[in-house]
């Protein structure tokens, strides 16, 4: 009998796993209660982590969707829809989110970056880009080229 080496056994597992993946994809399986791949890859996360992730995600969604509501100007409401979700989230964090004392203060790049789990430089660039976008769109809509925004 031919005895498989460890590498060959691993290759056998890979073949089985790939065939399974292809089969599931071919047959449009979307959700599996006992997803072996998940167990093997040790991707299972604790309930605590799931709760935290979901809370963060929902918080982000709410912040992004609430961003439009802060404008009174109909032009700005229209323009704010042109921003990406990330840009909205960054602007919301910078200018709207309350700090620990319940006051709305302009935050530093570092604080926002820490909250959103991104680099301070990325936060700064995203904010700059978003403001630039808002400004350009606003001027375009108003038909005014003056830089008084």
């Amino acid at each position: 009998m031919y005895i498989l080496s460890n590498k060959e056994k691993a290759a056998l597992i890979t073949i089985a796993r790939r065939s399974r993946y292809d089969y599931l994809r071919k047959n449009d399986y979307t959700y599996l209660e006992d997803d072996i791949d998940m167990i093997d890859e040790e991707l299972l996360i604790s309930e605590e982590n799931i709760e935290k992730t979901v809370t963060e995600k929902i918080d982000g969604e709410i912040c992004a969707s609430n961003f439009e509501k802060i404008f009174d100007d109909p032009y700005l409401i229209k323009i704010s829809k042109a921003l990406t979700k990330k840009e909205r989230l960054v602007l919301f964090s910078y200018y709207m989110e309350k700090d620990e004392n319940g006051e709305v203060n302009e935050k530093t790049d570092k604080v926002v970056a820490k909250e959103l789990n991104i680099k301070p430089d990325t936060a700064r660039k995203t904010r700059k880009r978003a403001l630039e976008k808002l400004k350009m769109q606003y001027l375009k809509l108003k038909g005014n080229d003056e830089n008084d925004f």
Binding site: E8, R20, L24, Y29, L32, E33, D34, I36
Partner: protein, 64 residues
């Protein structure tokens, strides 16, 4: 190619497949039940992999 033995007979290949039946069962489960079609698919794929170099080896020998 990880599988170095290019001269495996069909019986040997089938023996490997039967030896690793538990593994195949594990990867054939869908929602807790063994899906026979999926198991068959995996078996076929393993058979193809283990035998695909037979022909190549034969051709190489003829060439040399």
């Amino acid at each position: 190619m990880i599988f170095k033995n290019f001269n495996m007979t069909d019986d040997e290949v089938m023996e490997i497949i039967y030896t690793y039946d538990n593994l195949l069962n594990k990867y054939s489960k869908i929602n807790g039940k063994i899906d026979e079609d999926l198991k068959q698919e995996i078996k076929l794929e393993i058979y193809k992999t283990l035998t695909k170099n037979r022909e190549r080896q034969k051709n190489l020998k003829n060439f040399l």
